[in-house]
């Protein structure tokens, strides 16, 4: 069958077989099928054509190797719409994630049909991120997927349209709620309990750590080394109990909630005071109370003495007159006169 109409395509068929091993089998069958029925040959050639057809389009660009399947990595997406010049969105993360960030910009007064946009991380332009954005439905859209795996992948991701319009996505570790801004106060030789909590609807940290500030560094508290410290951690809450306080224990304490992506740090300030501090207002008020009580009681006693003296006097007056009481300032004489 040398005069078969597929001969022209023999070269292509051969090219196909160079790349793939499987179709060679079909091609062998195809060539040796010269002796089989013409229907079989037709089907086989069709098969080869289809497989070669696929191969043809792919020769232009190299096939990108598929990403190795990372099963723990979740997908997440955040989007924002920019109407002015600047917009910031905070994103809290607790575990590694493939983050799709999409920015939509309404554009300026003059809307050019296409504009260059690029991505920045922490102010630095990400390489190979410059793309041309087409105007669709009066909007410009930039979408990019970032793989956020560790703490160094967190930061400030910005999409920039042209040169000015920018949307910032601040990717950070979960922040702890209930920040206590007032210091915890306790006394020397007393104990204190400092707490850090994570809110109900937020994910549970893997573990908790406590740090004390040592100059500018944070030094982790080791409960086995020093007996005065005791850490009790539950899922959402951790407590640091410090016994036998001294003035040196005062300062900043940090509780760290460890998540797969990083550590979220909360701050608690400890103030240690002596018993003298509240004693001052206490003594002041006590002195005032004692002074007032003494003054009042003395006054009452002197008044009672005066009253009883007057009382005996009026009794004497009453005994001398038969009846009646008047505005008693007048003496006995006037009363007698009236009678």
């Amino acid at each position: 069958m040398a005069a078969s109409p597929w001969e022209g395509e023999g070269g292509e068929v051969r090219r196909c077989s160079e790349r793939r091993q499987k179709p060679s089998h079909a091609e062998d069958r195809g060539t040796t099928a010269m002796t089989s029925s013409w229907k079989q040959q037709l089907v086989q050639v069709l098969l080869v054509l289809v497989s070669c057809g696929h191969g043809d389009t792919k020769t232009a660009a190299p096939t990108p190797t598929p990403l190795p399947p990372v099963t723990p990595l979740k997908q997440d997406a955040k989007s924002a719409v920019l109407t002015g010049k600047n917009f910031t969105e905070r994103v809290e993360l607790s575990s590694p994630v493939n983050m799709t960030l999409s920015c939509t910009w309404k554009g300026d007064q003059d809307k050019p049909p296409n504009i260059t946009g690029h991505w920045r991380k922490d102010g630095q332009e990400i390489q190979d991120s410059r793309v041309t954005v087409m105007l669709e439905d009066e909007n410009y859209k930039l979408i990019q997927v970032f793989s956020v795996v560790s703490e160094k992948d967190l930061g400030n991701y910005s999409c920039v349209f042209g040169n000015e319009a920018r949307i910032d996505f601040i990717l950070e570790v979960l922040q702890m709620g209930e920040k206590r801004d007032k210091p915890v106060v306790s006394y020397i030789r007393d104990f204190v309990v400092m707490t850090c909590k994570v809110e109900e609807n937020k994910p549970i940290p893997t573990t908790w750590n406590w740090y004390t500030s040592n100059g500018t560094d944070k030094e982790q508290i080791n409960t086995t080394a020093s007996k005065r410290f005791k850490i009790v951690s539950e899922e959402r809450e951790t407590k640091l109990k410090v016994k036998d306080l001294t003035l040196d224990d005062a300062g900043q304490y940090y509780c760290g909630a460890v998540y797969p992506i990083g550590t979220s740090v909360g701050q608690v300030e400890l103030k240690v005071i002596t018993f003298m501090e509240p004693l001052k207002p206490f003594i002041t008020i006590l002195i005032e109370v004692v002074v007032l009580v003494a003054a009042i009681l003395l006054y009452e006693r002197s008044r009672a003495k005066k009253d009883s003296a007057e009382g005996t006097q009026t009794n004497a007056e009453q005994n001398t007159e038969p009846q009646g009481d008047d505005k008693g300032a007048e003496g006995n004489d006037s009363v007698r006169q009236r009678k």
């Binding site: 309990v193 004693l279 206490f282 009580v293």
Partner: protein, 487 residues
């Protein structure tokens, strides 16, 4: 008759002068006792953190304090009667000072239960009843206003003390705050020192007969008590609801009771307990105390569950507190007006009934703009009835028994105060909504109002029956009255 008495041993209630000092003292006593009790709840968060306890264990401190103050109220009135009000209040001040001082050193929650709950509670109980009874001794005409001002101490005190206590906790932690608070309650001794004893003439209407001529006139005191060192315009004085019962004392004798300086303790002190009127009042107080504490405890949780924000819910409580103060003073002033004075009991009934109605309507109010009028109305009438409790009690029992009666009244408040919030909480848990709790509160208040109105109706009918049987000694009382004025 007049010649028999050589000594003027009693004075009429001054209705002013040193009386206002007494009102000020009672105000301070109310601040130091009731307001401090309410402010103890600010310490809960600190106790929970320090002793690693849960909410209900720390809430026991407040309940114990409140309960002990009320349960030991008869002890306070006993001490006040046996010795003097001055001794009672000063010793109460010393005891509560010691209680808070002990709590400064406490290392466990149980010690706090004892020091704050029991010792300070006993101290507060020794102060509260004698101070309130003292106001009743010093005021007659303006009694309700005096009580209104004195009782407003709890509202104003809470308003002022709450941020102060918070500031003290921030500066000195709970230990230091308790220490400073102990010095603050030592001021009770100052108040006690100012409570000058007064001997008041007993006003016994049985000398004039169980009825008086006309209901408005009150043939005051007995016609025999004519030499008075302080005269007041008696004709102006409106009548109280006269007691148609006699105490079983021989009637013609004029009894002189020494207000708080008697040196004998007899069963006569508690004879008023057998009065049917007082018994009815006592039962109504039981219901009242069961109903009135629930809305205060459950208003904020209910508002939060209805979707009101935290800020607005706290604002509701503030409105309640401030209007409470306004209600105290204005109700007191209003019921002292001549036109309302004879109807004080009715005013009391109305205020309690209005409170009950407000509570019944509560489940229908589901948003902040609707809850504000509730808070205003409830707060106003709450202030009103609180000011009127001592007045109504003194109307039903006579002045010399006022201290003991008040002791019993506050004692009756104790167990419902302790028991009803947990029952309300149990109802919320079982039914899943606050409707049942507010229904309970409203029904209890309405029942209380009903019982008091029954008592009032019975008294009114009995008076009418008595007046129909006995002829009115009209001429006699008039002449004796004029005699008294001349002399």
């Amino acid at each position: 008759m007049a010649a028999k008495k050589q000594q003027t041993v009693g004075v009429l209630p001054p209705d002013g002068g040193w009386g206002w000092v007494i009102v000020g003292c009672c105000f301070m006593v109310t601040v130091c006792t009731r307001a401090v009790t309410r402010c103890i709840s600010i310490f809960f968060v600190e106790f929970q953190a320090h002793f690693e306890a849960d909410y209900s264990s720390t809430a026991w401190i407040h309940s114990l304090l409140d309960c002990t103050t009320m349960l030991c109220a008869p002890v306070g009135s006993l001490v006040g009667n046996r010795w003097s009000c001055r001794v009672a209040v000063m010793s109460g001040g010393v005891l509560s000072f010691c209680g808070f001082l002990l709590s400064f050193f406490s290392t466990s929650l149980e010690l706090l239960y004892f020091s704050i709950g029991v010792v300070t509670g006993l101290g507060f109980a020794l102060c509260y009843t004698p101070a309130i009874a003292m106001v009743g001794c010093y005021f007659q005409r303006r009694k309700a206003l005096a009580y209104g001002i004195a009782m407003s101490g709890s509202g104003i005190g809470t308003f002022v003390l709450a941020p102060t206590v918070q500031l003290l906790i921030d500066l000195y932690s709970w230990r230091g705050a308790l220490l400073v608070l102990s010095a603050f309650v030592a001021n009770l001794c100052v108040c006690g020192a100012l409570l000058r004893p007064i001997t008041v003439q007993e006003e016994e209407p049985e000398d004039v007969g169980p009825e008086t001529c006309g209901e408005k006139q009150r043939g005051d005191v007995s016609s025999q008590d004519t030499e008075l060192s302080i005269k007041q315009d008696r004709t102006k004085e409106p009548s109280l609801l006269p007691l148609p019962l006699s105490y079983g004392n021989p009637v013609p004798q004029v009894k002189r009771r020494w207000c708080f300086s008697s040196c004998f303790l007899s069963s006569k002190e508690y004879r008023f307990l057998l009065l049917p009127d007082f018994l009815g009042l006592a039962v109504s107080f039981l219901f009242l105390a069961s109903g009135c504490s629930l809305p205060f405890v459950y208003l904020v949780p209910y508002a939060l569950s209805a979707g009101v924000s935290h800020q607005n819910a706290a604002f509701l409580m503030s409105i309640l507190g401030v209007i409470d103060i306004v209600g105290n003073i204005t109700f007191g002033w209003l019921t002292d007006r001549r036109c309302l004075k004879p109807h004080r009991l009715i005013c009391y009934i109305i205020s309690v009934a209005m409170e009950g109605l407000c509570c019944l309507f509560m489940p229908l109010l589901t948003s902040f703009p609707l809850l504000v009028p509730f808070a205003v109305l409830y707060g106003y009438f709450d202030g009103g009835y609180v000011a009127l409790i001592p007045v109504v009690t003194s109307d039903v029992v006579r002045l010399p028994y006022l201290s003991s009666a008040l002791g019993v009244v506050f004692f009756l408040h104790a167990i419902p105060y302790l028991v009803s919030p947990p029952i309300g909480g149990w109802l919320v848990d079982v039914t899943g909504s606050y409707t049942a709790t507010f229904f309970l509160s409203g029904t209890a208040l309405l029942a209380s109002a009903l019982i008091v109105s029954i008592v009032a109706v019975i008294r009114h009918c009995r008076r009418r029956i008595n007046s129909r049987h006995k002829p009115l000694p009209l001429g006699l009382s008039d002449s004796s009255h004029t005699q008294g004025v001349i002399l």
